[in-house]
């Protein structure tokens, strides 16, 4: 696998190499990785990338990342425009 060209996070354009470098630099907590790289903070909100990051992290550190340690899902489920949210229509 070409690490420089393998995209892990499509929203933030992060490659496998970016993720592995951050883990090597000591960001071995999935939340710290997320905050360092902004992985899972784009429009997909982690639905595409977080499971991949979980696997990469487990492989590199040899430690299991439990569901409890995964970033919390935050609302909304899909992006919603501010215009719709501001509307008084029920």
């Amino acid at each position: 696998m070409i690490k420089k060209k393998t995209i892990v996070c499509r929203c933030e354009d992060l490659t496998l190499e970016d993720v592995e470098n951050a883990i090597d630099a000591g960001y071995t907590d999935i939340e710290e990785l997320r905050k360092k790289l902004r992985i899972g903070m784009g429009p997909c909100q982690g639905r595409v990338c977080i499971q991949l990051v979980q696997k990469i992290l487990e492989k590199k550190t040899g430690k299991k990342v439990t569901i409890k340690n995964l970033p919390k899902a935050r609302p909304p489920i899909i992006p919603v425009s501010l215009g719709i949210l501001a509307s008084d229509e029920k």
């Binding site: 905050k35 903070m41 992006p79 501010l82 949210l85 501001a86």
Partner: protein, 382 residues
Amino acid sequence: MKNKTHVVIVGGGINGCGLAYNLAKKGVDVTLFEKNYLSSGATGSCGAGIRQQWSTHENAELSMKSVKIFEKLSNELGEDIDLRQGGYLIVIHDKEELLQSEKNVKMQKSLGIAVKIISKDEIIEIVPILNIKGMNAIAATFCPTDGHADPFKTTFAYANAARKYGANIFTHTTVIDIKTKNKQVSEVITDKKRIKTDFVVNAAGINSKEICKMVGIKIPSKAVRKEIMVTERIEPLFEAMVISFKDGIYFSQQKEGQIIGGIPIPEQKFGYKTDPTVSFLHHMSKTLTRYAPILKHINMLRHWTSFYDVSPDSRPILGETNDLKGFIHCHGFSGHGFMISPIVTKMLCEYIVEGKTSELLESLNLKRFKDKQIEHEMAVVG
């Protein structure tokens, strides 16, 4: 882990990590315990703003000195903290607010802060997407050296630099008790190990109350629940942080292009519930699109809750008290812990290392709440 250290810091947020850096740099043996991961509390949930426009002299002085440190921090720590100085634009809605603003600006200027009152036309020049009518603005105050930085990057940069100087930082380690001997702290017990120490710094954010309880000190702070949201990335539209004390709203566009902002929820309650509310989203998006109608087309991506650790006068509680030697308070930041952390951690470091204190540090001591007259910070937002 060693069984003795000079300083134990409880809390791995911006102030805990900043202090670990300052101490380690001076050669002090420092150990930090964070029960979750670094920046997992208020630091990692905050709005990232750095503002010097305050109503109390102390807060203005703290933030002004902090901005001077922030400006050099990327170089000092060897990592980019993404500081952007696009200014803070504080909307003035009526004559009463104008009077208070004039008073604030006069005090801020006397300290050397480059702040001024600007006209409606100047507001639009600085943030073109704003709607004067929608905001009910009559003027604004603007300080071009205010801005924002990345709270995660800043915390990590402080922690990484601290480690380079020999600080021991332990995450996922909970402090469960603090032992004292002859009115002096002596030992810290965590869920993993115990360690003897001369100083304990309480930088545990909203959990500071629990830490204080371990040594029998009562603090008058309260956890206040806050909500905040972020939009998708869009092209750069404006650089200033826009805030209003009347509407309670604040919002800015970050380096990556996302707009981040918050507002108090109508049914604000004290407590520790972390579920975000629909009523916040409705209120926030309604106010935000009133201020900047063009944003109605932008998607909101994420919405979360965190807490302000609010002291009775909305100013931090810093330093040592006579009841217990070696126990250093570093909490009660009331929603602006990130922006004043550079100077706070520097002052506390000087206090611990050299015993150096100042009028400013003394004015923020816990003992001030024993006096009846405290000056309340008026300029709180969010």
